[in-house]
């Protein structure tokens, strides 16, 4: 296997904003004193006049974004997932979601892979929170190629979008030349007949590895990447349930309210089969290197393999 290129999706996000700045001359980017970390600093360098630092005041930033959007300009508001979805939740709901304003939220440092900063900054609840807002679109890209394509797709889409990016450099597995992002469409990366592994974000690459390991043990696993968590691709999930009879979901998020819950909601309504959830099991994280934490919390190929085998046995 050729050398795997690794890149954090937050990096892809910042680069995409800068690359698209010419094509979208009315794009304004807001941040809350985290431009160096969220990587909106790359946009700031390219277009300082269209970068607005709101200081450490996420609630106001979301309201400012709503006001800018109401005047017809495109706007991204950035912070860590914890503060964008968590601290500013009610502003996102009432000032952005309720009037269905065209605000894009760029939330970085999602999940346990924040690492050393620990539990206060490891947001494993943002997807759950954002899913409850009517009309909110949620995108959780899996790698650099998908993240960049998703930023452009979000800019071309009219309405509020929550985008989730990671801090940790993760393998780039999509092919830049052939990749096409379709909002709301799941992507079947590998066919299989014994189980469907439905994954999102950095867990998609783990799911692919798990499928390879399972293949070696005679288990045929289908792998589906759900980059758009809301609205979710019901069709691909129902098809997977019908054709494989078993689903294992994988996400770097709480097992409560995230991808696993969304998939289970579809499956229980349309084609009840067993759904096993791999995710953060209703606990807070703690400090440590991201790679170690992912293993410790079971957010890795080995644990997906284990769960699949337990479910099949």
């Amino acid at each position: 296997m050729a050398d795997v290129i690794k890149k954090a999706t937050r990096e892809s996000y910042g680069e995409a904003l800068a690359e698209l700045s010419g094509e979208y001359p009315d794009l304004i980017v807001l941040d809350a004193d985290l431009a160096a970390a969220t990587k909106t600093g790359i946009f700031k360098k390219a277009c300082p006049e269209r970068f607005i630092d709101c200081g450490i005041a996420e609630a106001n930033m979301m309201g400012v974004a709503a006001g800018i959007a109401s005047t017809g300009k495109k706007v991204f508001a950035s912070s860590f997932a914890m503060f964008a979805a968590g601290r500013a939740f009610e502003i996102v709901r009432n000032s952005i979601g309720y009037p269905h304003l065209n605000v894009k939220i760029g939330a970085t440092h999602a999940g346990i892979s924040v690492g050393e900063d620990g539990a206060t900054h490891q947001c494993n609840e943002d997807i759950a929170l954002m899913r409850t807002i009517p009309g909110m679109t949620i995108i959780n890209p899996a790698d650099d190629v998908e993240a960049k394509a998703a930023v452009k797709a979000a800019l071309d889409f009219e309405g509020p979008v929550y985008m989730r990016f990671g801090r940790l450099a993760v393998p780039v597995f999509n092919d830049k030349e052939t990749y096409k992002f379709e909002l709301g469409k799941g992507v079947q990366l590998k066919d299989g007949s014994d189980v469907s592994i439905i994954a999102t974000g950095l867990m998609v690459n783990e799911a692919l590895q798990a499928a390879d390991i399972l293949a070696g043990e005679g288990i045929s696993a289908r792998v589906i990447n759900i980059h758009t968590i809301k609205p979710i691709d019901r069709e691909i999930i129902i098809k997977a349930a019908k054709e494989t009879g078993l689903i294992v979901t994988a996400e770097e998020h709480s097992v409560i309210g995230g991808l696993g819950s969304a998939v289970a909601e579809v499956v229980t309504e349309e084609c009840p089969v067993k759904v096993v959830k791999v995710g953060v099991n209703d606990v807070f994280g703690h400090s440590g290197p991201a790679a170690d934490l992912l293993k410790e919390f079971g957010l890795c190929a080995d644990n997906i393999v284990k769960k699949v085998k337990e479910a099949i046995a």
Binding site: A59, N60, G63, G67, K73, P99
Partner: protein
């Protein structure tokens, strides 16, 4: 102020008050007290100051008004209907199923509403965004935000205050309606936000005070606001909660309750008498 204009504004404000009572009475709920305290200010803005067109409510270069104290929607709806954004008759549908006139302002469905508000402290941030957007593309519109004095207890108001001063949003005017009462009692007794003027000054705003029920004072304040450059403007207005309806004035109980049939009749009689006397003088 020109006497003919003043008389006309007083007459309109009286009709706006009647619309507030009409709406809240028919809804059997709502917030008359704080609606009546901002009736004169909203009348002045919509009938004399704001560049708006009822026939084209989304006009790109219109002045914007964000009712950050969104619970006083009856006042905004009443003034918008007087100004011709929708029929006055519609005020009777306030808060009813199927109606456009939601309990709190809904920009998606109500002509003339520039921002959905209701959760206190949020409207001022949206107003900052509108003002900043205007600055970024060199547009001439102005943005007005109306806040309650209790509302400034919300921390988000001060995040917005810091932001507006930092970005020198001199196209933004925030009016703080200081009627002195909030749901749980006097603002000085609940969890005092006073002194409000000093706080805005400390945050870098140009602060003006005015009497909320005297059109000469209102005009003077907004004229001064227009001349300020390089700073956002806060107009702290001294007002009377429930102004114009004798038994509602300065009574905290009228913050969020509707009059019964008898109280409705008395309120309307008082306002009709005031209107008749104003029209006679005019």
């Amino acid at each position: 102020m020109d006497q003919t204009l003043k008389k006309q504004l007083q007459i309109t404000a009286c009709k706006v008050r009647m619309g507030i009572i009409e709406g809240v009475f028919n809804a059997k709920s709502g917030h008359p007290g704080g609606s009546l305290s901002i009736a004169d200010t909203l009348t002045y803005l919509y009938f004399h100051k704001l560049h708006v067109d009822p026939k084209n409510p989304k006009m790109a270069d219109r002045d914007r008004l964000v009712l950050s104290k969104g619970h006083t929607a009856p006042a905004l709806y009443s003034v918008l209907s007087q100004r011709g954004f929708f029929p006055e008759e519609e005020l009777k549908t306030l808060r009813k199923i199927g109606a456009r006139l939601q309990g709190h302002p809904d920009m998606k469905h109500i002509p003339g509403v520039d921002m959905s508000t209701g959760s206190l402290g949020q409207g001022i941030s949206a107003a900052c965004g509108m003002a900043l957007s205007g600055k970024l593309s060199d547009e001439s519109y102005k943005v007005y935000a109306i806040l309650g004095d209790g509302e400034v207890e919300e921390g988000q108001v001060w995040e917005a205050a810091m932001f507006a001063a930092h970005y020198k949003l001199d196209n933004l005017v925030a009016v703080v309606d200081n009627n002195g009462l909030q749901i749980d009692g006097k603002i000085t007794e609940v969890c005092s936000p006073m002194p409000i003027t000093d706080k805005f000054e400390a945050f870098g705003w140009h602060v003006i005070t005015m009497d909320a029920h005297e059109f000469d004072s209102i005009e003077k304040a907004f004229d001064e606001a227009e001349k300020v450059s390089g700073q956002p403007v806060a107009i702290v207005q001294t007002s009377t909660k429930g102004k114009g309806v004798s038994f509602m004035e300065n009574q905290v109980g009228w913050h969020g309750s509707a009059p019964n049939a008898e109280q409705y009749a008395q309120a309307m009689d008082e306002l009709k008498a005031a209107l008749a006397s104003l029209e006679k003088e005019a």
